[in-house]
């Protein structure tokens, strides 16, 4: 059963939103991902992921202030919802459980144990 579903990129985005805490909006998220993961992210990919996350109810958004650079366009800040936190926890747990279940020998094929 797919109770929670987070795609790989979505997971990265939502984690980044968490990292940025109150400062998560389009450009900041993009920069954070690009610097931390050293991969380039297009606006399109990012906003699509944000729209999806919002539609799934994992994040909520609110209109923020605007700056001169943005020519008066407001920023849209994102926050993780309680449901989103559950989804993240679930994802982490399943990953951890999978990690645990991997036999040691996989990482240590030479058999030092």
């Amino acid at each position: 059963m797919k109770k929670y579903h987070l795609g790989e990129f979505e997971e990265i985005v939502i984690l980044t939103i968490g990292v940025l805490y109150n400062e998560a909006y389009g450009v900041s998220i993009k920069k954070e991902i690009e610097s931390r993961l050293s991969r380039s992210v297009s606006m399109g990919a990012l906003h699509t992921a944000l729209v999806r996350l919002e539609n799934k109810g994992y994040v909520r958004s609110f209109e923020g202030e605007s700056t001169e650079e943005r020519m008066g366009r407001p920023r849209k800040y994102f926050q993780i919802t309680a449901f989103g936190k559950q989804a993240m926890a679930y994802t982490k747990e399943t990953r951890d459980a999978l990690w645990q279940s991997i036999p040691k020998i996989v990482f240590d094929p030479k058999g030092t144990v």
């Binding site: 909006y25 389009g26 993009k30 297009s42 606006m43 399109g44 650079e69 943005r70 020519m71």
Partner: protein, 882 residues
């Protein structure tokens, strides 16, 4: 300094991006762009920007194609309906007129729809509906070159079809004619309608056998009953293997029971099926039928092979006579070019009339007629709705103005007005369904149907929904577009002077309404006039207190003389006679006569009837020349015939009395010769709309089959009937006393026309009622609108009568125009309808006059209530009102 990104791509982005997202993403793009310009220069930043815009072009970001509304649609619709409901409540009078008018119109349309559905589904109960056919024998009349024909066929036809065309037919089955039979158990007698059929007939009709099987009629002494018949005869007992006597002549065993055939089948009236061999016991002279190509007297039904086509089968059997009739006999038939054809089941009911050998018309005319009437009555109700909504538009113009100023779009206003219209339609439909439930029984009685309410059928609700949508759109579209197109500036300034022609569409619609109503009224009147015309036609005998008893029991044979004297002795009877044909139908037509001066090419066929000498006295026919039969003349017994006036004309006789009539066989050899002793006035036996056929009455003391009794005029029928019954019972105890009053039987000839007349009368009344409702609403609106004008006119000295004249004039004009238009339309259709009757009424001009006067009168009556009310208001009040 700020740099701006490539304009074209920015615009492109704004064009495709979802409106909800456009501001934020654009902000992000711009913020990033400015940073890039700072970091790596404008050219690189531009290139990056273009890349980003192109990469943003993906689902999730692109705006939906259908356009995006940022409002909560359900809330808006709820608001529309709330408003619609309030508008309805606010104008109770108008709403009542609208809803009740529409409900009436819908009820009529629904009833007519059910009726048409029933007509179109006729015979579909039978699973082999598409494959069953009735064989019809046609021939060309050498005088007129017209193709005439009958369903009655020669006995060997069935045999030929069965043996020579197995590739076309799965079943070929002969059947006798549907008739009355007396079924009796030890102690009870029942009169039931039955049909004698060959094996395979039940199978062909795909009857639902509750007991027994399709083989149940294979035993020559078996009988198959309908479920309801089995119940009336045997009650709760198991009918299987019970013994019944039929007409007191033959004993049979019940071997099967079938589910009652529904009313919309050609075989619905049949309650009993008998096996074919039974026929021989009822009807003498069956010996040699197998090879008798002369006598046309049986029905032949066929069922096609699943892969055979009707056309192919028809073509194959067309010249059956030429190929199968022995050559010497065919020579006598050849000049008629006889042929057979298949009449498929689907045409039996709706196309029952033949024209030149092809099924041409019949009830389908009424199906069309009523469809048109239904559509029109519904149209009238819709017109009311349209007229009242547009007329009231001035009142709502301000509302529209305010709404538009507040930012309402035209489309939204249209939706609002349409939702009002749907609300009305919905209410009307609920009311119509209620009315339908109430009217079901009377309607079924009126239309002679057994139509069930189709509320359990999904199709009905589907159609009802489509129907409501259609009516809602029809009624609401025009007001919706008209009202929503007002310009707020003009409307709010109060300069909604709609011009001279603004009311024109409304007037045209009123004219349409009244044209339809007047046509319907005229139609009804003409139908009634035609019925009256035919009713008042002299029928040639006295049908008062005359009863006919069918002597089907064999024990009557030879008792006629006793019955006559015994009945006479009771004193309640003034005359008694027997004959072999009834007064209200033609049973025998015989050809092959000759007389002095006969044109040898004329095929002389006459209606014939054997009667006892008292027949004339009993039925009270009128002798116009010569004398009645009499026992005083010894020669009458063997030599005398009486003919009717039509026969005199047909034979072309100057002085018929004393002329001789000779019967010749098919080879022209005389069989006998009789003398005409009298001429009687034409007696209407068949249709009262047709000319009376040339008829010969034979003196025959042993005429049997039907007993005619003239009840003594001084004794009431209720006293006389039990005495007559007791007398007959005493003489023939086995027989069931089953009588008909001749005047009732005769009255039945009009039932079809009376039904049409009543139905069209009701529709006409509804039509005029709906039209008047609309007119009433319009008049009240006009009176309201002109309150001030009326006040001023009164102040300057106009009388109430003046004002009444002023206000009513407009409406009277409209109705007069409608009458002017209705007359040619009605004349066209009605003269067409009357063409089908030989004996028809003229369409008289005073009828037009009366109808138009009546329409005017009704109009004035409707309008006057409002106009007088408006005219009699104290001007102080009306001028103060604001």
């Amino acid at each position: 300094m700020k740099h701006s990104p490539p304009k074209f791509f920015l615009r492109f982005f704004r064009w495709y991006c979802h409106p909800k997202l456009v501001d934020f993403i654009e902000g992000d793009l711009l913020e990033e762009y400015q940073e890039r310009v700072r970091e790596s220069g404008k050219r690189k930043a531009d290139r990056k920007f273009i890349m980003e815009v192109l990469l943003l072009f993906r689902p999730g970001i692109i705006r939906p194609i259908k356009g995006y509304k940022n409002v909560n649609i359900t809330d808006m619709y709820l608001s529309y309906f709330k408003l619609a409901w309030r508008v309805l409540l606010n104008h109770k009078g108008y709403s009542f007129i609208n809803v009740s008018g529409l409900a009436l119109g819908m009820t009529v349309a629904l009833l007519i729809g059910l009726w048409i559905y029933d007509e179109l589904s006729f015979n579909k109960y039978h699973k082999n509906y598409e494959d069953i056919a009735h064989v019809w024998g046609g021939r060309t009349n050498p005088e007129t070159m017209n193709i005439e024909g009958l369903y009655a066929l020669q006995y060997p036809v069935a045999e030929v079809l069965r043996n020579n065309f197995p590739q076309y037919f799965t079943h070929v089955s002969m059947a006798w004619w549907i008739g009355d039979y007396v079924l009796s158990t030890e102690d009870k007698k029942f009169n039931k309608i039955g049909l004698i059929v060959e094996e395979g007939f039940l199978d062909m009709l795909s009857l639902n056998m509750l007991k027994g099987s399709y083989q149940s009629l294979n035993d020559p002494h078996s009988v198959v009953l309908s479920a309801s018949t089995a119940e009336t005869i045997f009650g709760d007992e198991d009918p299987i293997n019970q013994t019944l006597r039929i007409n007191n002549r033959v004993e049979v065993k019940v071997t099967g029971v079938y589910e009652d055939i529904p009313h919309n089948s050609s075989f619905s009236e049949i309650q009993v099926f008998f096996p074919w061999p039974v026929l021989a016991t009822f009807r003498g002279g069956m010996e040699g039928s197998e090879t008798d190509w002369d006598n046309q007297f049986v029905n032949v039904y066929v069922q096609l092979q699943p892969n055979a086509s009707m056309e192919a089968a028809n073509a194959a059997i067309h010249d059956l006579y030429a190929k199968n009739v022995p050559a010497d006999f065919y020579a006598t038939m050849e000049k008629y070019q006889p042929f057979v054809q298949l009449i498929p089941m689907r045409t039996w009911h709706l196309y029952s009339e033949f024209e030149n050998g092809k099924p041409a018309g019949g009830r389908i005319t009424y199906v069309w007629l009523f469809s048109i009437v239904g559509v029109f009555v519904l149209l009238l109700a819709c017109i009311n709705f349209i007229n009242l909504s547009t007329a009231r538009s001035e009142k709502r113009a301000r509302e529209v103005g305010v709404r538009k100023t507040m930012g309402s779009l035209k489309g939204q206003l249209i939706t609002q007005f349409l939702s009002e219209s749907f609300m009305t339609v919905l209410l009307a439909f609920a009311l119509a369904v209620l009315l339908l439930v109430v009217l079901q029984t009377p309607f079924n009685a009126l239309a002679d149907k057994d139509i069930a309410l189709p509320f359990d059928k999904l199709v009905f609700w589907g159609i009802a929904l489509a129907f409501m949508l259609m009516t809602g759109f029809m009624a609401g579209l025009y007001p919706a577009f008209y009202l929503s197109s007002f310009q707020p500036v003009k409307v709010l300034k109060g300069v909604l002077r709609i011009g001279r022609f603004a009311a024109l569409p409304r007037k045209v619609l009123v004219v349409v309404q009244f044209t339809v109503s007047v046509v319907l009224i005229l139609g009804t009147l003409i139908v009634y006039q035609q019925i009256q015309h035919a009713r008042h036609r002299p029928i040639g005998y006295d049908r008062q207190s005359l009863i006919t008893v069918e002597l089907s029991d064999p024990n009557y044979q030879g008792e006629e003389e006793v019955i006559r004297t015994e009945l006479f002795n009771t004193g309640v009877v003034s005359a008694v006679a027997t004959s072999d044909g009834p007064l209200t139908a033609i049973w025998n037509i015989t050809g092959g006569y000759s007389w002095e001066g006969k044109d040898p090419n004329v095929e002389a066929s006459f209606v014939t009837c054997n009667v006892t000498p008292d027949f004339g006295k009993t039925v009270g026919w009128e002798i116009v020349a010569g004398r009645d039969f009499s026992r005083d003349f010894a020669t009458d017994t063997t030599d005398a015939i009486i003919i009717n006036e039509a026969a005199v004309k047909y034979m072309g006789l100057e002085d018929p009395i004393g002329q001789k009539l000779t019967d010749v066989d098919e080879f022209g050899r005389p069989k006998w010769t009789k003398t005409i002793i009298g001429v009687v006035k034409d007696i209407i036996m068949a249709s009262p709309y047709e000319p009376v056929g040339q008829t010969i009455y034979y003196f025959n003391d042993y005429a049997s089959g039907l007993l005619h009794i003239k009840i003594n005029p001084e004794v009431s029928a209720s006293v006389a009937l039990p005495i007559i019954e007791a007398t007959l019972e005493k003489i023939v105890p086995s027989a069931l006393f089953d009588y008909t009053f001749v005047d009732e039987e005769y009255g039945r000839k009009f039932s079809q026309e009376v039904r049409i007349g009543t139905l069209s009368g009701i529709f006409a009344m509804l039509a005029i009622f709906i039209s008047c409702l609309g007119l009433f609403g319009l008049a009240s609106f006009v009176a309201e609108q002109r309150t001030k004008e009326i006040g001023i006119r009164k102040v300057v000295g106009a009388s109430v009568f003046n004002l009444w004249k002023l206000l009513s004039k407009d409406f009277v004009w409209l109705v007069l125009i409608a009458c002017g238009m209705a007359i040619p339309i009605a004349y066209y259709f009605l003269s067409g309808w009357l063409q089908q009757y030989e004996y028809r009424t003229d369409i008289s001009w005073w009828l037009w006059g009366i109808t138009c006067l009546a329409a005017l009168f009704i109009t004035l009556l409707t309008v006057s209530y409002q106009t007088l009310k408006a005219a009699s208001i104290n001007p102080v009040q009306s001028l103060r009102s604001e």
